[in-house]
Each structure stands twice: as C-alpha cells, then as structure tokens.
C-alpha cells in the first residue's frame, strides 16, 4: 500500500514538473525571450526532422519564430512520456533523426506534448530537466 502511494506521488510530482516545463517554454516564447530559449537549447538541436548543428542557427530559429510573432496561447500539457526506442518517429522516421535520438539526447529526457488554444494545434518538445539544468533538445510543430 505504501509503495502504491509512493508511486502515485512520484507520478504526480513528475506530472507537475512536466507541466511546469511546458509552461516555462510557452512563457519564454510568448515573452519573446529568444536568447533564453537558445541558451536552454542543446546543440545539435532538432526542429521537426532537421538537425541543426550550428549554435547561431539554433539562436536564429528561436529569434525567427519570436520575430514572426509566434505565440503559444493557452499552453497545457497533453502528454508526457519518457523516451522509447521508437520516439524518433514522432519527429521523422529517418536514419538521421534516429541517430540524433541515440547519440545526442540524454536518456532521461522526456517527450512533452503541448496543447494550445490555437485551433487545437500541438507542439512536441524533447526536454530534459535534471541536475538543476533544463535542456530543450528538439521542437516540432505546431501540427
């Protein structure tokens, strides 16, 4: 019984961390804080099926979407899951993206799916929150 309670609390704690991380990314986008997003991003970084290997290009991506007026309104956590061997297919079913997940994404990273109030569009993040360091490995969407 105690083990079940402990498991439930862990799951609940994880959910609130995931929710908090999703809100953080959405807030930074909405506030136009491209520099902070770039600083949180790993290099190489994944955008949809594209591996971005240059730091200035990762920064350009964030500043570009902010400059375009992109906002994540009404962000909510729809799904969160640890990485699975086939997680890469959610970004692109290619040799490159498969290798990216295997080589560059920390094992403890999670896939966080955000729902937005913008015509039900969603965003997918590869996010790691460990050792007091939040890292975004990838961004897909809105889709």
């Amino acid at each position: 019984m105690a083990a079940l309670i402990l498991l439930a609390s862990c799951a609940s704690l994880q959910h609130s961390w995931d929710q908090g991380n999703v809100q953080t990314v959405a807030r930074l986008i909405n506030e136009g804080q491209a520099d902070k997003l770039a600083a949180m991003s790993a290099v190489p970084f994944l955008v949809d099926g594209e591996i971005v290997t240059l730091k200035p290009d990762v920064a350009s991506f964030w500043s570009g979407i902010v400059k375009a007026g992109f906002k994540v309104e009404g962000a909510t956590l729809v799904q969160a899951a640890p990485l699975a061997p086939d997680s890469y297919t959610q970004f692109a079913n290619t040799m490159e993206v498969k290798t990216f997940f295997a080589q560059y994404v920390k094992k403890e990273a999670r896939l966080l799916e955000l729902g937005t109030s913008q015509s039900g569009k969603r965003i997918l993040l590869i996010f790691s929150d460990s050792s007091f360091k939040k890292t975004i490995y990838g961004f897909k969407g809105p889709y």
Binding site: V47, D48, G49, E50, I51, V52, T53, L54, K55, P56, D57, S60, F61, G64, I65, K67, A68, G69, F70, A92, T94, M95, E96, T99, F100, A102, Q103, P142
Partner: protein, 338 residues
C-alpha cells in the same frame, strides 16, 4: 542488408581515409570546435590535429588557423570546414571542403600534389599560392585569387583564374563569368546576406537547385557503389584463394598471390568505397548546411502562416528531397557522420 554492408565496408576500408596529411591547429579564437570522424565534438585547441573526416566549425566570434604541410588555412567566423579524401585517376587525393563560410588558403610552396578544394557547388584544382573561398548560404561559391592560378570546375565546365581574378559558381550550375577582384577587402558577409535574401525570395527555385545537385550526388554514389559491389566478392574470393594456396602449396606462393592479385584488388575496392563515402558526405553537407538551413529559415518565416502556398509547395518539394536522400544517401552514412 545494404546498411550492414556499409558498416562492414566502413570498418574494412576506413583505413583508406587515414592517409592524407593531417592539419594542425595553429591558432583559435572564440567559438571553434572540431567534430572528429568518430562523431565526438571537442573544442579546437592549438596543437590539435585534424585528420581525414574531421570537421572544424567556427561560431559567430570564432576564428581558426591550420597548417597542413605548408598550406596555411585561415578559417573565418561561421564556417564549416572538413578534411576529405577521394580517389582520382587511381590515386587518393586530399580534398579540403568548405561547406559554409569563408576560408583563405596560402600555399607556402607548391608540390604539384595540392589538395582539391571543394564547396557545395564546385571543385577547384590549385596551382596558386593564395586565394579565398566563400561558401554561401544558398550553396553557391565565390572564389577570389590573390596570386598563382586556380582552376574552378562545376557541371563539366572549368575556368582558369589568375591573380586578381574571381568567379562565382551557383549551386548546380557552371561557373559564371570571371571578374576582377576589387582591391579592397571583399565583403563576404554582404555577399552571403544577398545570397540568403535571394534564396528566401524564391525558395522553390532554390529547392530546384538543391534537388538537381542531389541527383548528381546520387548518380555518383550509385555508380561507385555498384562497381564496389562487383569488386567486393572478387576480393573476398581472392582472400579465400590465398588461404587455400598457403594451405595446399606454400606460404611463399601465397605471399606472391597477395602482392600480385590481392593488394591491387584491395586498393581498387578501397578507392571505390572511398568515393562512395566522399559523394555521400558531400551530399550530407549540402543537405545539412544548404537544404536544412533553408528549411529552418522558412519555418521561422511561415510559422504563423502555415497555409501560405509558398510554404506548402516548399514542404512538398522538401519532403520529396528528403525521401530521395533517405533512400539513396542515408544507407551509405554511419552514425558518426550525423
């Protein structure tokens, strides 16, 4: 099956990619890193050696200088530079690949065996002592010669450049007309910004150039790989025969067979595989640093307007390009290339 063979060939014939002269890092400043052939990325430090397959990248504030057996290679900011190799006329040739950014080459002495210089859009044979190569965001190249002579080749057309001459080579097209290099320092940033603007103004035309260039790479990869597949079983058979000779006749005869038959066959097979890798990696460079960056720029631009016909048409063309790449080039790549 193809992937397994690629991995096996990479292990067996990878040794052919180790013979080019290494380039020693003699200076670095700011953001400069080396991605080793093994896939490991490390900060570039003075005294490091770059070997075939290694890539040096500089960031916004990065600079680096290399020395490769008397060739001084000055790497500007925001540049991607790779040491490569290919087979040409039965010999292994070193290739200095400027995938993105600007590099100035200075040859302190000419030996007649100068490495080729390649970008996404051209290959240059060097008989010059000082020249600069600019590799633009749209895959095009600008080459300016300070002294000596450089022969620039693309799409079957070659142009000889003498001192103070330059030429631009668009991606997938032959070299344009030569021009006289202005005396003042060339403004690479402006040239590159103009190229980027033109590419973003007509992304579908840019995709056409990229797709055409991919077709060329695919053709080379397919041709060399098909020949490699013909030679590989011959080499395997010859190795078995050598073992048989050693067992049934003598070690001396087996050694003679090794020298007379196996060694030339192994060299030929290795060269074929070297070219498969060379063209595959060149295609990957273009896919990553021209096509991928175009995708990223357009994604940012159209993220709030995803139904724009330019974006949807671009996406459809880009998907077609990716499918083709995945089918024809990706099987020749290994994890460390990514």
């Amino acid at each position: 099956m193809k992937k397994t063979l690629t991995c096996a060939a990479f292990v067996l014939f990878g040794a052919f990619a180790l013979s080019a002269a290494p380039a020693d890092v003699t200076y670095t400043e700011g953001d400069a890193s080396i991605k080793l052939k093994t896939g490991t990325v490390q900060d570039a430090q003075i005294g490091d050696s770059m070997n075939t397959g290694d890539t040096l990248r500089t960031g916004e504030d990065g600079l680096a200088e290399l020395d490769q057996k008397g060739v001084t290679i000055k790497i500007a900011k925001n540049t991607v530079f790779t040491l490569m190799e290919r087979e040409q006329g039965g010999n292994t040739s070193a290739v200095l690949a400027v995938t993105l950014g600007a590099i100035k080459f200075r040859y302190n002495k000419l030996t007649g065996q100068e490495p080729l210089v390649r970008t996404n859009s051209m290959v240059a044979g060097v008989r010059g002592t000082e020249f600069t190569v600019f590799s633009g965001a749209d895959g095009s190249t600008l080459i300016a010669v300070d002294s000596g002579q450089v022969t620039v080749e693309s799409e079957g057309k070659s142009v000889d450049l003498a001192a103070t001459e330059g030429v631009e080579v668009p991606l997938g097209k032959p070299p344009a007309d030569k021009f006289t290099v202005p005396k003042e320092l060339m403004d690479y940033s402006k040239w590159n910004a103009d190229k980027l603007s033109a590419m973003l103004a007509d992304p579908l035309a840019a995709m056409t150039s990229i797709e055409n260039a991919l077709v060329e790479y695919e053709k080379n990869v397919a041709d060399y790989y098909a020949t490699f597949l013909k030679y590989k079983p011959q080499l395997d058979d010859a190795r078995q025969k050598r073992a048989q000779i050693a067992k049934e006749k003598s070690v001396e005869e087996a050694t003679k067979y090794q020298d007379d038959v196996i060694a030339p066959l192994a060299l030929q097979t290795g060269h074929l595989y070297l070219n498969v890798r060379y063209f595959s990696l060149a295609a990957l460079s273009m896919r990553r640093f021209v096509a991928g960056r175009l995708y990223l720029s357009l994604k940012s631009r159209f993220i709030t307007n995803p139904d724009d016909p330019t974006w949807t048409e671009f996406l459809s063309r880009f998907d077609r390009f990716l499918s083709s790449f995945e089918e024809s080039i990706a099987p020749q790549l290994v994890a460390a290339d990514i």
